[in-house]
């Protein structure tokens, strides 16, 4: 098969450009390489030595480091695709991935965009219109506005109608950016302005809308796959209730609350919503589920999700390869009844951030990296030892994904894998995951989107066993005994992160 593939190259793309960076660019390169498709990376100045540049077959410069001048520069990306003879572009997630102009420009340039068409993207990508589409498809939605908010007064009026607390959300949003929780009328004004400004910075679009805030809901989403011939399947749910700053940090499937019957109903609803706009390729329909197990359409993400690997682990389906085959024009090679779920999977998103200091970002050089491996462990990483995590982008370093035959094995394996993961030089949220996995509520599967707010306080991820502290003290002395007097040393590489730490003291509240 492989040999014949090579002899008959016309049955797949000749070259794929990945319009993204970090772990997702690496993920797409891996899928393409496994299919024998050469890859083109693009990079900003600070990403010249990024892992995706090192791993791709070709790499071309986009521009300066700020994303507006690089990964958001659509013209430049199309230009590079053309000059490098790439006949397809994968957008990854974030950046331009949900901008309908992207598929439109690709179409005009004769390049295949690996994702939905512009019209479906426009309709589902705009959160407000997506809510309308869901309503029309008779899928319940969270109460709120069906049009973008004009101004603060309108926001306040509607908030009073549907009742506090409410959420203000970016119409173009995703990933928790441009989202604000408003508990009382007095908080609305500043939240409205912050959300607008963050939305503008993240998506170049300051439109926001308003939704009722459900009390301790679960976030449960469904992966769908659709070909251009009207065939569509769902690949089951992912529960993403564990969030900090409205951004997912732990995801798992199956959801501990799911039943076969509810999965069938929610899966049907997801397919209905996606069908309503003629959706094609991979997408995700997000729902909130309340304590009565009633579900509400939240939004649709018209691209690959960060957390797609857990679905891959339980279904055995490589979603990126499916995306490429669907974009090439292949028919879905399986039907809904062929989709089987085996065991349980969980993902932890490893961020460069300080869990003891409000998850504040912590960029800098990675001095030492030990990644976990072994049975059931997958590390989708965008970093390497020596890499300097830049300040310009989302601080996601890698995704640690594990599979187990049931949730109990998965949790034990995740704890084991976390204990093997070592990243030094920058702060990460690794200790935070160890804390989560020790919580009774988490172990029992009692999850909700306010789990962290309800259960976590900054000191929690830092409980030092006293004997370990003694060991640490002795290790420090042992290390010092190998050096000269303490003022005679300090290499350049050592300095940068620690100086930064020093400067951050003003922000600490230990």
């Amino acid at each position: 098969m492989l040999a014949s593939l090579r002899r008959n190259p016309v049955n797949m793309f000749e070259k794929l450009l990945i319009a993204n960076r970090g772990e997702i660019a690496v993920r797409v390169i891996r899928a393409a390489r496994e299919m024998g498709i050469p890859t083109v990376a693009v990079y900003s100045d600070c990403d010249r030595l990024g892992l995706h540049v090192r791993m791709a077959d070709e790499a071309y410069r986009l521009g300066p480091s700020p994303s507006t001048e690089s990964y958001l520069n659509l013209e430049r990306i199309i230009e590079i695709a053309q000059s490098s003879h790439a006949d397809a572009i994968h957008p990854g997630y974030g950046f331009l991935s949900e901008n309908p102009e992207f598929p439109r420009r690709c179409l005009a340039a004769g390049i295949c965009f690996v994702g939905p068409g512009a019209s479906a993207m426009q309709r589902m990508g705009g959160k407000v219109e997506a809510r309308k589409t869901a309503l029309e498809a008779k899928v319940p939605i969270v109460p709120g506005t069906e049009v973008p908010l004009q101004d603060e007064e309108q926001a306040l009026r509607i908030a009073h109608q549907i009742g506090f607390p409410v959420l203000i959300k970016a119409a173009a949003g995703g990933g928790g950016k441009g989202m604000r929780y408003v508990e009382t009328p007095g908080q609305l004004s500043s939240a409205f302005r912050d959300a607008q400004s963050e939305a503008n910075a993240a998506f170049g679009d300051s439109e926001v809308y308003l939704e009722k805030y459900l009390n301790s809901p679960r976030h449960i989403e469904f992966q769908i796959l659709a070909d251009r011939y009207g065939n569509m399947v769902h690949l089951g749910e992912r529960e993403c209730s564990i969030q900090r700053r409205h951004q997912k940090v732990v995801e798992e499937c199956p959801s501990p609350m799911m039943t076969d019957e509810l999965r069938r109903r929610m899966g049907d609803a997801a397919v209905k919503v996606a069908s309503a706009c003629g959706y094609e390729n991979a997408g995700t329909v997000e729902f909130l589920v309340d304590s009565e197990n009633d579900f509400y359409f939240l939004e649709m993400n018209t691209r690959l999700q960060v957390e797609h690997p857990i679905t891959e682990m339980v279904t055995g389906i490589d979603l990126v390869k499916e995306q490429l085959k669907l974009a090439w024009g292949e028919k879905l090679s399986f039907g809904q009844q062929d989709v089987q779920w085996q065991g349980s999977a969980m993902e932890c998103r490893i961020y460069a951030e300080d869990p003891q200091n409000d998850f504040f970002p912590s960029p800098g050089r990675i001095l030492r990296l030990n990644s976990p491996s072994g049975p059931g462990v997958r590390d989708d990483s965008g970093i390497y030892e020596g890499w300097n995590v830049p300040i310009y982008y989302d601080p996601l370093l890698s995704k640690l994904i594990v599979w187990g035959k049931d949730r109990n094995e998965t949790m034990g394996r995740m704890k084991r894998a976390l204990s093997e993961y070592q990243i030094s030089g920058i702060k990460t949220n690794l200790p935070f995951f160890k804390w989560i996995l020790a919580q009774e509520a988490f172990i029992a599967g009692r999850l909700s989107t306010d789990f962290i707010e309800r259960h976590y306080s900054p000191g929690d991820s830092k409980k030092d066993p006293p004997v370990l502290q003694d060991m640490a003290v002795m290790a420090a002395a042992l290390h010092a005994s190998f050096q000269g007097p303490s003022n005679a040393r300090g290499t350049k590489e050592d300095e940068s992160p620690w100086k930064l730490r020093g400067r951050m003291n003003g922000m600490r509240n230990r």
Partner: protein
């Protein structure tokens, strides 16, 4: 060959003594009125494998001046460690936090919103300024209770890493 070293270590605000006598793979440590025997191996300049009473620990140490950051079995510790000579001069210099303290930008970014004005009273831990960096808005907090002596920046201003944003006295 045996090397002997003495250090002062700050634990719960008390300076304690630690002495270490070592060969290339064994160390005798005196600390808190206890003797420890450590079988160690150097993995690199900053990494050790320790065996203490049979327990295996993997340790990474990064040191800058009097500050050592130790990661042991994945748990991080910040340790103040000085040799006795520097300890003397340090005691005489006196390190305390009663003077003005500035809140500075941890990385390049933009000031989104100022939450206080000059002259305001603040509590330790109270949010004082919101900056945007790495596509996230982050609230910086006052390191101590006191009065805002100076606000050095204005809203929407771009700031560099380390730049002083405001001063609390």
């Amino acid at each position: 060959m045996t090397t002997t070293s003495h250090f002062k270590i700050l634990i719960n605000n008390v300076w304690e003594s630690i002495s270490i006598q070592r060969t290339t793979n064994l160390a005798q440590v005196s600390f808190r009125e206890r003797q420890w025997c450590i079988d160690f191996g150097k993995l690199s300049e900053n990494e050790f494998s320790l065996l203490v009473d049979g327990r295996s620990h993997d340790v990474t140490v990064h040191r800058l001046d009097d500050h050592s950051h130790v990661t042991i079995d994945g748990v991080g510790f910040d340790i103040s460690l000085v040799d006795p000579k520097r300890f003397q001069s340090r005691l005489m210099r006196g390190d305390d936090a009663s003077g003005p303290v500035s809140v500075s930008a941890p990385m390049p970014g933009k000031v989104v919103r100022l939450l206080v004005q000059e002259g305001d009273s603040v509590q330790a831990g109270q949010g004082v300024v919101v900056i945007e960096a790495m596509k996230m808005q982050n609230e910086l907090r006052s390191p101590k209770s006191g009065k805002i002596e100076e606000v050095c920046v204005s809203e929407n201003q771009a700031v560099n890493a380390g730049e002083s944003l405001l001063v609390v006295k």
